[in-house]
Amino acid sequence: MAPADINETLTSEPEAVRRVLDDVRDHISDAPGFAAVSDMSQIVLGEILNNVVEHAYRMEPGHPIQLSITFEDGGLHCRVIDDGVAMPNGTPPNGGMPELDPSQRDELPEGGFGWALVRDMTEQLIYSRRNGQNHLEFSIPQPES
């Protein structure tokens, strides 16, 4: 039997994101067979929820974010809904990994890694804007063993 779904509503503060990530980790650690996606889900959900806080809500605290996670055979299916501003151009960033040259210390990138990590660890990422809300759905597949 699949583990019970996770449904959380949080508000738009980094500390709230942090608490939800702890909750999610505790839930997933109780789900047999999902240990391998637990680490990836921490990274992916951290990036996506913090993006909502920073960009959709522009660091204004107190706004709602809904997170739901269902356990599927191949991994986790996640949905994040918020009432913030839409993604620029109506689409999530493509998220190529920033170029870096180790010999150019002054030029090393300090940002641009978030969406690259998300794109790397997710599949079937779909964004839509409906009724003034951002809907983001994606799967976090089990690593191939």
Binding site: V17, D39, M40, I43, L100, R105, E110, G112, F113, G114
Partner: protein, 116 residues
């Protein structure tokens, strides 16, 4: 205070005391690191307590590395698997010398040429 510091013969060790190096503490991390390391010398960032590193936390590590200036080395030690995964995926493992334990990093600092 998410950081503490200890002095060793060949490097200063900065210990991250928080299990999450993420957006919620990235700014404080940068400020505390800069004040702790104002004295000069090479630095080892000891991360064995860090269970989670996100892109903001990674950006803050890069920022303090750049702020040290061109003549001061910075190595990373004690990375947990999730942190190491982020370092590998972003190719930051090609920028920083990464050691399994603090002892390994200290040994390399004591004989920098043997590690090359």
């Amino acid at each position: 205070m998410p950081l503490t510091s200890s002095d060793h013969d060949h490097a200063q060790v900065v210990h991250v005391e928080d299990p999450r190096l993420d957006a919620s503490i990235a700014i404080q991390f940068k400020e505390d690191f800069r004040s702790l390391t104002a004295g000069g010398g090479d630095v080892i960032l000891e991360m064995s307590k860090v269970e989670f590193l996100d892109s903001s936390g990674l950006g803050s590590i890069v920022a303090v590395y750049k702020a040290l200036g061109p003549d001061r080395a910075m190595a990373l030690a004690g990375l947990q698997p999730t942190v190491e995964k982020v370092m590998t995926l972003t190719r930051m493992n090609t920028v920083f010398a990464i050691f399994p334990t603090l002892d390994d990093a200290l040994a390399a600092a004591a004989s920098p040429h043997a590690a090359e």
